[in-house]
Amino acid sequence: MKMEKAILATITTQSNKVSGGTAVFHCETKEEMEAVAANLEAILDGIAHALNEQLYIIVKH
């Protein structure tokens, strides 16, 4: 089955904003969050979208 539009991972510095349902990566700083998001983007072949300054999601289009 080909997957269309799915959140593959969530990267955040604000742990209380997200929970369950997807893989969540908790980070300490904004720099760490960006580095993790860049890595995951390359690994998962998805796009890193910023929902706000504290929350990134990797989406498969």
Binding site: E34, E41, I47, A48, A50, Y56, I57
Partner: protein, 295 residues
Amino acid sequence: MNEYTYPIIFGIIVGTAVRVFMLRSDYRQYPTYLHGKIIHLSLGFIAAGLGTIAIPSIMEKEFTAVTFLTLAASQFREVRNMERNTLTEMDAYELVPRGNTYIEGIAVAFESRNYLVIFTSFTVTLCYLAFNIWVAVIATVFCFILSHFLMSGSTLADIVEVEQSELSFDGAGLYVDNIYIMNIGLPERQEEILKYGMGFVLTPKSFSVRSTIANLGQRQAILHDVSVTLGVFRDSGTPALVPLIKRDLNDGRIGVFILPQEKDPVRAKEIISAVPVLENAIQMPTKRKGRGAKR
């Protein structure tokens, strides 16, 4: 040798020549290779033969021979299927795909060109047999001009104004002029996009054009043509660096975001202007009589 020999040879040669004339490899890179060309030249030769033979058959009162033309029709529909299948298969491996509408347009062109060959051979042979070789030569010139005319459709420059526009980010949102393109999260990606990306805004010249350029196939064709000609700054597995076109819902303008290997705005503008208007994307809402006819 009989009285039909020369007219038939003449008709076949002219028909095949028309097919050669219409078979061009350009930036669309299809058909590029020798084998692809041989297939189309052979089919053109067969089409020329069928068109030519119809006239002597009628003159010999062999009317059933004309039913061969129906055979030709189904044969050339098969050509269209063949082209569609090949191009669809190959499209999956393009960095910026052509899209199905473009492929269908190419496939239809291949089919219709064979019919033009049949028409040419038919006309030329008829002129040769009914009059003489000089009338046939005039008919040949006429058919070449007609083929050239029928072969070239309109381009985007005829229906839209193309203008370069700055790319900008509002937070994570990428904009071309005021048209939202997509959300790019990573700052390094944003820098790459501002460094390599270019934005264009296409403004429709009339009301009918709005739905033509809104067509997803037409938009994909623009992206494909630009990417083929100017190169593309992306690789497999980098979906963030994909060229995109989005629409301004208020006035029907479209914002084109491209990532060329070679950042040359003048050339890019020329290429966008020269993108063919796909037959399948053309819609004529204002052709309807009565309500809305004067818009």
